[in-house]
């Protein structure tokens, strides 16, 4: 059984259809597409921030569409939101603790905390600093670490490369890969950067105007000229 099954998902904002009849299931997936293709809307619908108009979302056989975000987190879906949204006026430690808010098990929380610090040693060095004083790359690590603190089975990443230098992006993505490989956490990676997305996933979808226009293994998609067409809107 696939972890997440999405079928016939639709969402519109005031008549403008953002996501239209989307269906897929996921192991390690990346979704690419130009601005306004509906990528973020899709992720927000899965996490429960917005409610779908139509369609179903099943996670491990349980229907989760329309649930409140705090309920969906408890099912084991956590998200690294777009633009590294950390809590800037809270310390690194407090940010991580908030990630484990839904976990009422202090032993598990301590294990997750150790795991995050061993994955991102840089966060350990800055544990008492306010998150707002971290560099962009460190904030992204914190956002990922915070999502891992929720003990996810499925991790949603919304444009982790946004606003980061190529070197930092590379570092972040090698960490993301190792999390996926070693911890066995499923992932949906949403990216504008098609090159990065196809390098770091198994399956890639191209989203355009709320519809999936192309699907394939990431290796195939990497050299598919239709991907570029989708971006240019031809």
């Amino acid at each position: 059984m696939k972890a997440l099954e999405v079928s016939g998902l639709k969402k519109s904002f005031g008549g403008v259809v953002a996501v239209d009849n989307i269906s897929f299931s996921v192991e390690h997936l990346s979704i690419i597409g130009p601005n306004g293709a509906g990528k973020t809307t899709l992720l927000k619908t899965i996490t429960g921030i917005i409610k779908p108009l139509k369609g179903t979302i099943e996670f491990e056989g349980v229907s989760i569409e329309g649930l409140k975000p705090e309920r969906i987190v408890k099912h084991g879906i956590t998200m690294v939101p777009e633009g590294r949204r950390v809590f800037p006026h809270l310390s690194v430690k407090e940010n991580l603790e908030l990630g484990a808010y839904a976990i009422n098990n202090s032993r598990l929380e301590a294990e997750l905390f150790d795991l995050v610090l061993s994955t991102f040693p840089r966060l350990g060095e800055r544990i008492k600093q306010l998150a707002g004083t971290l560099s962009g790359g460190e904030q992204q690590m914190l956002a990922i670490g915070r999502a891992l603190m929720g003990n996810p089975k499925l991790l949603l990443l919304d444009e982790p490369s946004m606003g980061l230098s190529p070197i930092v992006t590379k570092e972040i993505f090698s960490l993301i890969d190792s999390i996926n490989r070693e911890k066995g956490i499923s992932m949906i990676l949403v990216e504008q950067n098609a090159h990065i997305a196809t390098e770091h996933s198994h399956i890639t979808f191209v989203l355009e105007n709320g519809r999936i226009v192309l699907t394939g293994t990431s290796a195939e998609m990497k050299n598919n000229p239709r991907v570029i067409e989708a971006y240019l809107g031809v």
Partner: protein, 315 residues
């Protein structure tokens, strides 16, 4: 604890000033200072906390304070309960009032424009004042608040202090301390600070936003009730409109310190109190209430974010 420290330092300074003004004067002033100021401050805290979490100026806050005073009065007059029970029951009742106001008036407007919330807050405040001034309820008249104990003055060579002032002082500081612990040391406090910054992001952490907002109103309501009972003990004449001026003053104190910032509310409350004492001492007590509005104008003109505010405009 920086806020508390600053508070103490300011206190000693003011005490010194008061002594200079003259001994006769200082007695009256000290009483004035201790009682008006400290409750103003407690209220300012409630304001700033609710604002911090909800970005809403809860104008009904002064009225919850008034309800606390009336509940305290009835408990003392009709049931002659001991003081700690009076405080406890009044606080629980006003906590429920705060919770109820949020559920009925504000929750349905979650996500509505800020101006709708503001108008609703004014509406709730007017409703409570007018409804409760019915003759069958609190009546529009001044009512005597029976003090449950005698006033005892302790004479020191520099100043005189009464047991009431001591009680207010101790309760104010313990409430400040408790609020500090709640907001900075507990899981709920962490969630409150998170919700205050970004609701959507907080819900992604698994935080139940609705509960955190309700909880904030419950705590705010409880402290308003506490302030109301203290007010009744210090000024034994209460009235259904008594919450208006303290409400406005607390609001201005919170704005002066930087709204949404806890230690800002404490310092703002102190500054307002001290200014009032000075105006009453050197000009006339009739200018006292006018002064705080002048302070409000000056703050809004020169530093709209308040003393500790960074004035971050979120789009």
């Amino acid at each position: 604890m920086a806020a508390n420290f600053a508070l103490k330092e300011l206190k000693t300074k003011t005490a010194a000033v008061l002594y200079d003004v003259g001994n006769d004067y200082s007695k009256g002033l000290a009483e004035f200072f201790k009682s008006t100021l400290e409750k103003g401050k407690g209220n300012a805290l409630g304001y700033t906390m609710v604002y911090g979490v909800l970005r809403l100026i809860n104008f009904a806050y002064g009225d919850i304070f008034m309800i606390g005073a009336f509940i305290g009065r009835y408990l003392i007059s009709y049931f002659s309960l001991p003081m700690h029970a009076v405080f406890l029951i009044a606080m629980i009742s006003t906590a429920l009032v705060g919770y109820g106001i949020e559920k009925i008036a504000y929750k349905p407007l979650r996500g509505a424009p800020k101006i709708s919330l503001l108008i609703t807050a004014v509406g709730v405040s007017l409703f409570l004042e007018c409804f409760l001034s019915l003759n069958a309820l609190f009546t529009p008249n001044y009512i005597a608040f029976k003090r449950p104990f005698e006033i005892i003055s302790y004479d020191f060579s520099l100043f005189t202090i009464t047991n009431i002032q001591l009680i207010i002082f101790v309760i104010t500081f313990s409430s400040l301390f408790l609020l500090y612990i709640l907001i900075y040391k507990t899981k709920h406090g962490k969630a409150m600070r998170a919700v205050s910054y970004d609701r959507e992001l907080s819900s992604l952490m698994g935080i139940n936003i609705d509960w955190i907002i309700s909880f904030t109103f419950i705590v705010g309501g409880a402290f308003a009730g506490l302030g109301g009972v203290l007010y009744g003990i210090a000024y034994p004449q209460i009235n259904v409109f008594m919450g208006i001026m303290p409400g406005i003053k607390s609001f201005i104190a919170a704005v002066l310190g930087g709204i949404g910032i806890i230690h800002g509310a404490v310092i703002g409350g102190l500054l307002i109190g001290i200014s009032e004492v000075f105006v009453s001492a050197f000009l006339s007590s009739t200018f006292r209430d006018g002064l705080i509005f002048i302070i409000l104008f000056i703050v809004l003109l020169l530093k709209p974010g308040g003393i500790f505010g960074k004035w971050i405009e979120k789009v």
